[in-house]
Symmetry: C2
Subunit: 401 residues, 2 copies
């Protein structure tokens, strides 16, 4: 079993935490000065443990293991959401460095912009060959609008080659990440072996009514788009539980009424509605439920609702063999203190899984807090998880070395 | 019966329509160059028909009848909502001029900022002594933030006296206004005699939940403020019809979820909810229903809702004697083509009604459109309404001259 220097691992994590520190978290938006500093810091750590570091034309930092033989690819992302947590992404990258320090034959990667400041997952998508130049031309920062091309130029990445996956080089991809939920914590568990990454089916509902004066227009005369939106969402609240599976989630994150004034009957409403599951059959059932509710709303209401699919991703199932290796390692190092669980959030692993066996390990999130500077995990849980990751990696490599 | 020159009345209306013309409507925000031009235009019309015009320190334009004896006060507002209709307000002001031209002993008024660019009804409130200097110090433009003091300075009104109501001078106040609804049109009627102006009870509901990741957080763990808002609004949709009266209206004009992102469970929701009626008892019943729904929501839900009253105005009932005079005039000039009806919108008359007998007359609104440049009314209906107003005014004056 590989000996991981967990003290050094934690030291590295806390050192990285200082770059772009914000309260107890970090602010390292993609390609910002802080983000680029963290990538250079990472290249130094990689070099220290014998990897050959390189930053490519999209900002991916990859440390190649110089030796021969089968290798695993280990990593995550290093940029953060705005004013967000210190572990989201960074944990999986520094864990890769820890495995390399422990002498395991791993390449370590920090994928660019998993958090979607510009596009979302553009680093891992570039690596597997799913980020065409035309998309790079098109993308811009969602907060301040700077184009991706301009950001790459300012970051000194313009014109650098984009590293592509070498078919056959890796036996698989491993990503350690915080859970971003409370399932481990509330069950008193310390490690999660991920079964798969949910698909996110994101929809936009647009409801067309008639804008009118809230005093002059009788209830009978109204075509209130906001009221139709409320009735439709209440119908979904009543019906979705009977269409979904035990681990499905669905969320309405935004309701906007136009014009949005106290004394004006909304003439138009826009609703963002999404659901997630790892099981394709469940996704299909939830879509059928959503479509039936919209159809029924259009039958009952005086305002018309149109349904637009914004994105329909595919579930990414984790590789059975790697899962088994991680599960065995978890049972060995934390008997009874781990569980299998799906990932409700998207991760770089879902793109790597398109080209190689991939799997993920979750550490607990204190209070389930994430995408917030207060995000945290106990040091002892972080240490345990990196040891499980290393032992699982050793099993994979040993199994068919 | 007074002879109103309806051709001249329509000519005046169409002339005023050219000031700040926007498509088929007008854009005359309070104290803008266009608004001030329209006020000076009005002073010229007043002078033409023998009134003594004056503009005061809040922008009210008042034309005093020089003769002795009992007088009526007739008017409305002359500024418009942004890019809005040509008749909303202007109709009642120009009608006052038409009555003066017809030789009726009337003072004519154009009250400032009924439309609330700065405060709402500040002209009529100033005239009845309900606009303290401290409020003028505090008010600012709701769209661009300029202070009321600065706007008054730029409009050349700074330091001018504010004309106050002369107790005993007026037997009553008359306001002709467009309906801003479709009740007259859909009933094929041409004149509305207003029974009262509804009270508007405006509420803000704030729902506190827990912001969380839409993937990492199971349905069981969530405290979704948006979902609680939807359930509460659906409950109100189900219950309010049994609490309200035949002419009550209630409206949710805004729902804002925070942070309002597709993949984040809303941690906070804000809802604007209002109801209106002319009947105090109905208002009390609707408030009781609202409070019961909030209480039940707080019993059922994991998110807490707090209810805040933003404004609770009083219904303004129209004077019975003036109503009777207007009704008799309507029946005489438009037999069977008029009705009694409440005003669902607020009007300057509701403030004048605090100091003198007041009443209103409604003209039909084509398609019920208002607060939009497409607002319109047929010329023949406008002409009929000003004749009914004049005949009604004559009856009032005659009755106890």
């Amino acid at each position: 079993m590989p000996q991981v220097d967990t003290a050094r691992f934690l030291k590295d994590l806390h050192e990285l935490r200082q770059i772009g520190a914000y309260r107890t978290g970090v602010h390292r938006p993609t390609y910002s000065a802080e983000d680029m500093e963290s990538r250079r810091w990472l290249m130094d750590r990689m070099a220290e443990c014998g990897l050959e570091p390189m930053m490519d034309g999209i900002g991916n930092v990859i440390g190649r293991h110089p030796g021969p033989g089968p290798k695993l690819l280990v990593g995550s992302h290093i940029e953060s959401q705005n004013q967000a947590g210190w572990l989201d992404g960074a944990l999986g990258v520094v864990a890769g460095v820890a495995l390399a320090r422990a002498g395991l034959p791993v390449d370590v990667a920090a994928w660019a912009d998993e958090e979607g400041h510009y596009g979302g997952f553009i680093g891992s998508r570039s690596f597997i060959g799913e980020l065409p130049e035309e998309e790079i031309d098109r993308l811009a920062n969602r907060y301040h609008g700077k184009t991706l091309r301009e950001a790459l130029r300012e970051a000194g990445l313009e014109g650098l080659p984009r590293i592509q996956l070498e078919p056959g080089r890796h036996k698989g991809f491993l990503e350690l990440h915080i859970e971003q939920g409370t399932q481990l914590e509330s069950a008193g568990l310390r490690v999660g072996v991920v079964t798969g990454i949910v698909a996110i089916w994101q929809w936009k509902l647009v409801i067309e009514g008639m804008q009118d004066h809230a005093g002059g227009t009788t209830m009978a005369e109204r075509r209130d788009a906001g009221l139709t939106a409320v009735r439709l969402l209440a119908m979904l609240d009543a019906r979705m539980p009977f269409a979904c599976g035990p681990r499905s989630t669905w969320t309405c994150g935004r309701i906007s009424l136009e014009p949005g004034a106290a004394s004006i009957i909304p003439g138009r409403a826009e609703v963002l509605f999404q659901f997630r599951d790892v099981d394709q059959a469940m996704l299909d059932r939830m879509e059928a439920c959503l479509r039936a509710c919209v159809q029924e709303s259009n039958r009952r209401e005086r305002c018309t609702t149109t349904l637009e699919a914004m994105s329909l991703s595919k579930p990414a199932l984790c590789d059975d063999a790697i899962q088994a290796a991680l599960a065995a390692a978890a049972e060995e190092l934390a008997p009874g203190a781990w569980r299998h669980m799906p990932s409700g959030a998207g991760h770089d692993a879902q793109y790597l899984a398109k080209r190689m066996p991939a799997a993920m390990l979750f550490s607990p999130s204190i209070g389930g807090i994430s995408h917030h500077w207060a995000e945290d995990t106990k040091d002892e849980d972080l240490a345990l998880c990196v040891e499980v990751l290393a032992a699982g990696a050793a099993r994979c490599l040993g199994a068919n070395a």
